[in-house]
Amino acid sequence: MFRTVPMLRDAALVGLAFLACMGAGIAINFLQTEPLPLAYKPRAQRLPTDSRIPTVSLADITSDDRKKASVFIDAREPVFFEDGHLPGAINLPASRVAGGDFRGLPPDPATPLIVYCSGRDCPDSHLVASALVAKGFQNVSVFSGGWDEWSASGNQP
């Protein structure tokens, strides 16, 4: 049989040690040169973005022949992509990019790619575009209006 008092004493000690480890972990984190922010951000949102990536407008992609010849990359999750997407778009969600999965892209790194997500507020098009540039694609731009602007303008999937 267990003796209750030593067991309770052990449990209290374990509880105190756990709290001490939490405190020590947070304290050590803030002594690092690049501490982890205490507010959790999913991995896709922690990908570095590149502000030098050009953006294109709806007018560009509907009128400019060069833009029309580009391959669209839909950075939304598959469930939204399947509901509707720009003509010929390839689905490459930020969650896949975060895991290093770039399957389905054109083999030629010179292919012009235009990345979009839901709309102006979503970060995923910039995250995916930055990852594509880092991957070696030379002609990447972001359609910042995204799916919202495309569909609101009366364009059909």
């Binding site: 067991m7 020590a24 972990g25």
Partner: protein, 141 residues
């Protein structure tokens, strides 16, 4: 090691090694462990990073306590608590069909398991740590 049967000692040292390795690998990649914790969808968002920073240290402390000395008994109790938490986490992820990655051993790919494999691994750890805890309490009684 007077008074301790050899199988208990082997189990205790095995547990210590598992916890020390798991803790050290997690300390090296706290962001990866935070992603792993988040994938279980059990921990409220404000607690994910504090736990990702604290739990690895707790694992190292528990592993060190299990190596020997006067803190073996609380160490075994802590290991049992950790293993119980791992078991519940993996079992609920398995039942909910979640695609989880606990980053239990950092980013070492061959130690990443499916939720069913995670339940099995956690149950083995739980049985081992509960047995060691019982033996340590008997020894002290």
């Amino acid at each position: 090691m007077v008074g301790i049967r050899e199988p208990t000692m082997i189990a205790r040292l095995t547990l210590a090694a598992v916890l020390l390795i798991a803790g050290i690998l997690k300390v090296l990649d706290p962001a990866g462990f935070a992603d792993g914790l988040a994938s279980f969808q059990l921990v409220p968002a404000p607690l994910i990073v504090p736990l990702a920073l604290g739990v690895p240290l707790f694992e190292i402390l528990t592993g060190a306590a299990l190596l020997g000395g006067r803190f073996r008994s609380p160490g075994a109790l802590a290991a049992t608590g950790l293993a119980a938490a791992f078991t519940v986490s993996y079992a609920t992820a398995w039942l909910r069909g979640l695609d989880v990655s606990c980053s239990c051993f950092g980013s070492i790919q061959f130690l990443q398991v499916t939720p069913a494999g995670g339940v099995l691994r956690a149950v083995v750890l739980l049985a081992l740590s509960a047995w060691v805890a019982r033996e340590e309490h008997r020894r002290r009684a």
